[in-house]
């Protein structure tokens, strides 16, 4: 059960609609696999269109997926008629982006009325256990939409 109480009862359909409207996520082929209050999971298959020159997932693609997960984790907690804009984020790359499928998990750390802070983790999915490849801390501002 979530630590958070959503302000918008329709948060899930709002998030799913907004995710589907993102050209970048459609381009990547990313899938939104979990939408809970204060928590988002996105999954992504390994694909040539997301790679850097050494054959690994591009750091920028990892960051884009983590950013999307962090941003929507905040969106789950805003009131109806509100959205968020990302002020800044920081990403650390801990291991190579190699694998067949990746998971991007974001959770809200601070659900402020004006400022939201979320943390994201990127994993390369494994048969036995997932391998942590990247982290993000993202700061968002709540805006009228």
């Amino acid at each position: 059960m979530s630590r958070f109480e959503p302000r918008n009862p329709d948060f899930e359909s709002h998030v799913r609609g907004a995710f589907a409207a993102q050209g970048l996520m459609g381009n990547f082929g990313a899938e939104l696999t979990e939408v809970a209050p204060g928590r988002i999971v996105i999954e992504q298959d390994f694909h040539e269109r997301l790679l850097q020159q050494h054959g690994g997932l591009h750091g920028g693609a990892i960051a884009a997926l983590l950013d999307t997960a962090c941003g929507f984790s905040a969106v789950t907690l805003v009131a109806a008629g509100k959205g968020i804009t990302t002020i800044e984020f920081k990403t650390n790359f801990l291991a190579a982006g190699l694998g067949e499928r990746f998971r991007f998990v974001a959770e809200v750390l601070k659900p402020g009325r004006t400022i939201m802070v979320s943390e994201g983790r990127a994993f390369a999915a494994g048969a036995d256990k997932d391998r942590l490849i990247s982290t993000m801390t993202a700061t968002m501002m709540v805006i009228d939409i």
Copy 2:
């Protein structure tokens, strides 16, 4: 004239080849428009495949382009047989990613033998002057390739 002396006389062809080998940059349609010692410029047209749900350039796409520019700015200064891996980066978003064309300019701030630090600026190109939309500081490690 550059403040930096490249260690690899073939740095430009090395960078151009590596950029062309990036699936993500090909996917985006990004163009590498300047390769100088310690400095990279990438340009990108506005396109639906790079957008978020409000019709602006996705922050993750901006970060991916800045990351690529920062990474290659470091690559211009490594010796032959060396490359870089990105340890981390941090991005601030200052203005909406709206415009017809964008420029991503990166310059090396610290050309260390082990650690390189670069700064990037993203601009929405304008008729009169460019508008700063985002900044990045990126930390890279020099590796054998």
Copy 3:
């Protein structure tokens, strides 16, 4: 001449009073040597009370001085009755904190009504030229005080 027009004509006395009221800056012995619209310079002598175990300026002391410079650079641009609170900052350490005197220079990059972003640079003062030892990007929110 500054790029910025201050909203509070008494910005300088406001900043000087607030700086003098900071216990931490008094503890350090830091000096506020320049207050201009959107720009702050703080100077600090090398002193044992600011060091890490290897005899260099502690990274945390460098960050505290950069943070103070960034914060007050934003304060110079807010209206009377307003102040700022720091949301986050990011610091890179480029060279050892060795020298007799240090300068911490901050300039506002984005003077938003709600969000301000400033960049700071720390220098070890030299006879001929200053040496860049650290950088900061700081994000502040404007608040009522």
Copy 4:
């Protein structure tokens, strides 16, 4: 029990000696209350010498204490004869630094041979439960000392 196996059996005395040799921590009056493989806790009383102008703990003091905790968490895992230098860190400020006593907890996230990444959390100690006031992600490089 720790996830980590220390490479230096004398890690604790090494860390305690290095902490005691930091002029800044002595100045603050900080106490090193836990030293375990990959984990450090520092405690600090509220004191006027650490404050900003509004009477709260200065963000720079919070960052310095988190930085110290993150740095030593990495030191617990290096081999004898090795130390660390901080490459960069990022701090988010989530709540005001008000309280009588504060705890700064750091844990290593990635214990690399060359690069270490740690995460820190700052808490205002409460009668019932601690309140999270700040987070840090720090990147360190292993060096010979």
